[in-house]
């Protein structure tokens, strides 16, 4: 396997053929020429309906909530607040130990849910994408896995309360409890992890898996070298889904937790529905949104770090 240092004439020929075939070098071909793109305003016009839609339904309510969080609570006002600027809503929330206690509790619940969904969801997605042979069977099994989502959220939550209390009771865990709420959440949301994992795993280059096996890679090495790096986008998207969905969770906590369990979501709810304290509720909600944004940034950052795995 010794190599000569002199340039190989055959290799040089191959390089030349490549350049002839592509007309330009690959580096040049990959560089996108910006002048070739159409007029900027046409692109903008295409984006306009979508932009309006997002602005009206997503951004406007958020802006309004932020505004309300800086306005003043007023008992007699028809809307429940007056448009007088104040920071006192945030002051109240900042000094509410209940709020921060529940924020931390919800964060912890989210963390557990993300990790549990990954641990339980990955083998399912792996089996569906790489072990089930035909695409038809894959899709059939995937639809069956989706079946619980055909029932309503409320039905699924309520359905969980009885079996959970029966099973957990046998292990000496009282219900309703934080544990029962967390277990219910994992079951309710795991499909949001399985789905992106399934689609990224299904796209993993199978011959690369065979090549890794052929070169002596055992299951774990092959997994690390080929499967995991290519599945990372799915893991990130699934984690963001689970994190965002469970951190702000309110319905499951209410139904399965039955007023014994609190979360940030139920605190926000108690300001809005219970106390009709819209400005304080808005401030609590804004802080929750900020916490979610921070969490999502951390997750995406983490994935960037690992891109070169």
């Amino acid at each position: 396997m010794s190599s000569s240092s002199a340039p190989d004439p055959i290799l040089a020929e191959v390089e030349e053929a490549e350049e002839l075939a592509h007309g330009v070098s690959r580096e040049q071909a990959l560089g996108i020429d910006k002048s070739e793109r159409g007029g900027g305003w046409i692109t903008a016009a295409w984006a306009l309906p979508g932009g309006l839609w997002l602005g009206f339904f997503l951004l406007a309510p958020l802006v309004f909530i932020v505004l309300v969080s800086f306005w003043t609570y007023e008992l007699g006002a028809k809307s429940g607040f007056a448009t007088k600027w104040t920071l006192s809503n945030y002051g109240t929330i900042f000094h509410s130990s209940t709020y921060w206690h529940n924020m931390l509790g919800s964060f912890y619940t989210s963390l557990i849910a993300v990790v549990a969904c990954l641990i339980f969801g990955f083998p399912i997605a792996y089996f569906l994408a790489l072990k089930v042979q035909s695409l038809r069977n894959q899709i059939a099994l995937f639809i069956i896995a989706l079946a619980p989502f055909w029932t309503s959220f409320l039905v699924r939550s309520v359905a969980w309360t009885y079996p959970l209390s029966e099973v957990l009771g046998k292990f000496g865990v009282s219900t309703p409890s934080t544990t029962s709420v967390r277990l219910a959440m994992i079951q309710l949301y795991i499909l949001f992890m399985i789905t992106p994992l399934f689609f990224t795993l299904a796209q993993v280059d199978r011959t690369a898996i065979e090549a890794a096996r052929d070169l002596g890679g055992n299951w774990w090495r092959t997994f690390r070298a080929v499967i995991l790096p290519q599945t990372l986008p799915g893991i990130v998207i699934g984690s963001i889904f689970i994190f965002v969905l469970t951190m702000g969770e309110y319905g499951t906590v209410l139904v399965v937790g039955q007023n014994y369990v609190q979360s940030v979501g139920t605190i926000v709810n108690s300001y809005i529905v219970g106390a009709v304290q819209y400005p304080q509720g808005a401030a609590a909600a804004v802080l929750l949104v900020l916490a979610l944004v921070a969490g999502v940034l951390v997750i995406t950052r983490f994935s960037n770090l690992r891109e070169d795995l």
Binding site: M1, E13, L20, E210, D214
Partner: protein
């Protein structure tokens, strides 16, 4: 189908005990559901030999290669390399490695890490494996791209990384599954030379699967033509190109004229076959047991057909209508018709002016008896 070994002694009677080389013995693969992918394949390959498995898609060539590499398991038969049966071994325990179709590089690892992978898996220490990987990359002329990711490389470069990645593991046999299929035509032509040159340098056994006839002819020491799970013919490229044994080989290799008819005369080893348009071809086929009246197929290479303007009717000649004159630079293909049967003649490119625009005209062709082959059905 043991009698199908056109090779004679070298291809026949593989023996597991004699030691050197690779033997496929009665190799058979039946997929669940009953599809027979490979049926009773016997083949001996020597070390240092470049063998191409050639055939249409679904003929069993890739399954045969995958069984040698350990990625598919035979239903029956044995695979023996240097006296050792491989059938029970996992892919990485076999002294074979595979270059997969589409290269199958690890996209998230650098070129160097790709090449190092096999050594790492075999427990080679860090410095040693780096040295060997760099050596292998130098051999394929890519040392300066060691830190790139595969997606930043061109097709030809990726192909060479794939080669370096398997060569570092020092296999006894290299298995290549359509290795040039993903490359542009021009690059394919150059890579043929490079790959063959590399194989000669290394003196390794290469087993190469392709459906491309020209690729097989240009690269192989021996070609194994397969169809419908079975071996049709094993021979060197010249024999495959000029002396097809079966109708399939004659048709698949292209540019062979097939005359389907009956034996009308029989004198010792010499037969005369005539088709329904009374095109008559004579052929010498020692040992063929056919009698007058039996069905027979003969083939005549298009390149052996000459245009014979002054010839008269009779044996080894036919009057044709010119259907289409196809100019291909170095050569001209004359698409002809005798009755309803198509025939093909090839002449050199310089003669194009002689035939340009002559579609619809009558033309007389002729060929020599020694260019006629009697085919097995």
């Amino acid at each position: 189908m043991g009698e199908m070994n056109g090779e004679g002694a070298a291809g026949a009677a593989p023996s597991a005990t004699t030691g050197s080389g690779l033997d496929l013995i009665g190799l058979t693969k039946v997929f669940p559901g009953g599809t027979v992918a490979v049926e009773d394949v016997d083949l001996h390959i020597d070390h240092g030999e470049y063998v191409v498995l050639l055939g249409p898609s679904g003929c069993g060539k890739t399954t045969t290669l995958r069984m040698i590499g350990g990625h598919d398991f035979p239903t029956e038969g044995d695979i023996v390399l240097d006296g050792q049966s491989l059938v029970g071994l996992a892919p990485h325990k076999r002294p074979t490695t595979t270059v997969f179709q589409h290269f199958a590089l690890f996209p998230h690892r650098t070129v160097l890490e790709n090449v190092e992978f096999g050594l790492k898996m075999h427990g080679v220490g860090k410095d040693e494996r780096r040295r060997q990987a760099v050596d292998a990359l130098e051999m394929v002329g890519l040392a300066e791209l060691a830190d790139r990711k595969p997606r930043a490389l061109s097709g030809g470069q990726q192909q060479r990384v794939a080669l370096a990645r398997v060569l570092v593991t020092k296999p006894k046999a290299l298995l290549l599954d359509e290795p040039l299929g993903d490359l542009d035509r021009l690059l394919q032509l150059r890579m043929r030379v490079e790959l063959r040159n590399l194989q000669r340098q290394l003196g390794l056994m290469f087993i190469h699967v392709t459906h491309n006839q020209e690729e097989a002819l240009s690269m192989a020491d021996r070609i194994v033509v397969m169809n419908e799970a079975r071996i049709q013919q094993i021979a060197d490229p010249l024999t495959i190109a000029t002396q097809p044994e079966t109708e399939l080989v004659a048709r698949f290799m292209g540019d062979n004229n097939i005359i389907r008819g009956r034996v009308v005369e029989h004198d010792g080893d010499r037969f005369v076959v005539a088709d329904e348009h009374d095109v008559r071809a004579s052929v010498v086929a020692p040992g063929d047991g056919r009698a007058v009246g039996d069905e027979a197929l003969v083939s005549v290479r298009a390149a052996a057909v000459v245009i014979d303007a002054n010839g008269a009717g009779g044996l080894n000649t036919a009057e044709c209508e010119v259907i289409f004159v196809e100019y291909l630079g170095d050569l001209v293909k004359l698409h002809l018709a005798v009755g309803g049967e198509r025939m093909l003649a090839k002449v050199t490119g310089e003669r194009y002016p002689e035939f340009r625009g002559r579609e619809g005209e009558k033309i007389r062709i002729a060929w020599k008896e020694e260019d006629v082959k009697l085919l097995r059905a």
